[in-house]
């Protein structure tokens, strides 16, 4: 296997971008990433996007985006794993460069979610759950994570306030990220008094509906060395599945796919949780961040809530989690999220993260998951 580096990153501001189309937000980010990389040739493209069919009535977007980026006839493929589509695109690009089939691969993620109303968006996101045995009964994504939250609170004593502290911490970080959809701070009281979506989760426990894209450029390490820029290498990649129906799992509070993907990535990288300087995790809901930090081995099982309360996951904590603001504050255009996580880690490892810079960051991790944990991808990056 060849060694693989991230040589360019590009992302424009996320939000409710009513004036922009899917193809436009993607091309804007892709041009920034190409400019950042210093290369113009791309051998192939992978695009993570969950459901352009339901959100904008458009499939076949890989070719559409290759066309609008001016890159036809290179091969381009859209990959889908619900909210982990971006992380999956990264893994496919990694495999293609590592295999030697391509030398430079563009990996993008994109979702245009505000062309439908809230109820239609809730439906589209809900298709990541088991339609016949979860969706049919009226469960939603906030609902599925509420089921996890209630079970985690009952089993481990995780408190409602600890859930709120995840959102507060991520907004603290997001307030330092000019590209975030919601770059402002919130308080625990604001979370606890926000409107209920699916008890016990309130609207400020939930990541928002967002339009956005994110693009990174991968190349072989030998090509990257010629570019005379900070070298960021992908040293670990893991990918795993689990039942998409939450009720089919032995333990509703445990994210087995994240655990398995994490173990694969740690093994490939030859690293342990204590070696990781910072991590971007999939905080689609506040409880998700708590469960993920347990499954990745940063904290004991059941202690994720306590860790947030003690400040262990803040920018200056033992393991900074979601320095970008996470899905909560940065926004969650589902297919783009997994790629945007990589952009944050690359910026941090380059020392380009501005006011939210984590000191002496050398090894970073991303964790991206689909649905209620039916799929997960974990990647580890090192500045060499």
């Amino acid at each position: 296997m060849r060694e693989v580096a991230v040589i360019g990153v590009g992302m424009t501001k996320w939000g409710e971008l009513w004036e922009k189309s899917l193809r436009q937000i993607f091309v804007e980010s892709a041009l920034l990433a190409l400019e950042d990389s210093g290369v113009s040739r791309v051998d192939s493209m992978y695009i993570g996007s969950m459901s352009p069919g339901l959100f904008i009535g458009q499939e076949h977007i890989a070719s559409l985006l290759a066309d609008y980026l001016g890159k036809t006839p290179i091969p381009a493929a859209r990959v889908e794993s619900a909210c982990a589509s971006g992380g999956l695109a990264l893994r496919q690009g990694f495999i293609e460069v590592a295999s030697g089939l391509s030398d430079i691969v563009l990996v993008g993620g994109v979702e245009k979610m505000t062309d439908v109303d809230g109820s239609e968006a809730t439906y589209a996101l809900g298709t990541a759950a088991d339609q016949e045995y979860e969706g049919f009964h009226g469960i939603t994504f906030p609902g599925l994570y509420a089921l996890i939250a209630r079970a985690h609170m009952a089993k481990y004593g995780t408190t409602r306030e600890q859930l709120a502290m995840v959102a507060v911490k991520n907004h603290d970080n997001g307030s330092l990220n000019p590209l975030a959809q919601y770059p402002f701070k919130i308080t625990v009281d604001a979370v606890l008094n926000s409107v209920l979506v699916a008890d016990p989760l309130r609207v400020l426990d939930c990541s928002p509906i967002t339009d956005g894209a994110a693009v990174v450029i991968l190349s072989s390490l030998s090509t990257a060395r010629k570019l005379k820029k900070p070298l960021i290498k992908i040293i670990g990649s893991g990918h795993a599945t689990d039942t998409i129906a939450l009720s089919s799992r032995k333990d509703i509070t445990w994210l087995e796919s994240t655990f398995q993907a994490g173990q694969q990535a740690y093994k490939m990288a030859g690293k342990k949780p204590k070696n990781i300087d910072l991590v971007e995790v999939h905080d689609c809901f506040t409880i998700a961040e708590i469960c993920v930090t347990e499954a990745l081995g940063f904290f004991e099982i059941g202690k994720g809530g306590e860790a947030v309360q003690k400040g262990l996951t803040s920018l200056k904590g033992k393991i900074p989690v979601n320095s970008s603001g996470g899905l909560k504050a940065k926004g969650h255009p589902v297919g783009a999220t997994g790629v945007a996580q990589v952009i944050e880690i690359v910026k941090q490892l380059r020392g380009d993260a501005g006011q939210r810079q984590v000191k002496k960051a050398r090894i970073g991790m991303t964790q991206n998951m689909g649905g209620s944990g039916g799929s997960a991808l974990v990647h580890i990056f090192e500045r060499i």
């Binding site: 109820s119 809730t122 969706g135 939603t140 609902g143 009952a154 699916a198 509703i252």
Partner: protein
């Protein structure tokens, strides 16, 4: 317009709670599968889910998808049946403040939606206090 076949082919599960019991390890799968998720065996005996169970975890859905927006707010739980199978379903005929982890519930056959993408009335199971 979608055809009604999608709803029709789930009738054995939704109307009669039919499940599949692995002939090798005895694990019960609901809905039925072609491969046992526990031992990988491919022969099953038809069985029926236990009628009762207890709530493992629950939520009150207040922001609903379009097909059930007119029902919100409503309760959804994961119920562990007395045969060990876990099933997701709505909990009805019960005040929200009476719903607790551990509450005993039983299946009832109910109308789910008055219309849907298939243009038919959907029926299925919901849970009520036992």
């Amino acid at each position: 317009m979608p055809t009604p076949s999608r709803a029709w082919r789930e009738f054995p599960q939704r109307y009669r709670l039919e499940a599949a019991k692995c002939k090798k390890c005895g694990a019960v799968s609901f809905p039925p599968r072609l491969v046992c998720p526990v031992c990988g065996w491919r022969e099953f005996a038809k069985t029926k889910l236990a009628a009762e169970g207890k709530i493992l975890t629950y939520t009150i859905i207040r922001v609903a998808p379009h097909q059930c927006a007119d029902q919100a707010p409503y309760a959804v739980a994961i119920v562990e049946l007395s045969d060990g199978v876990k099933v997701t379903g709505q909990v009805v005929d019960c005040d929200f403040d009476k719903i607790k982890i551990g509450l005993k519930v039983k299946f009832e056959f109910r109308k789910m939606y008055s219309e849907g993408e298939a243009g038919v009335i959907y029926y299925g199971y919901k849970f009520v206090p036992a």
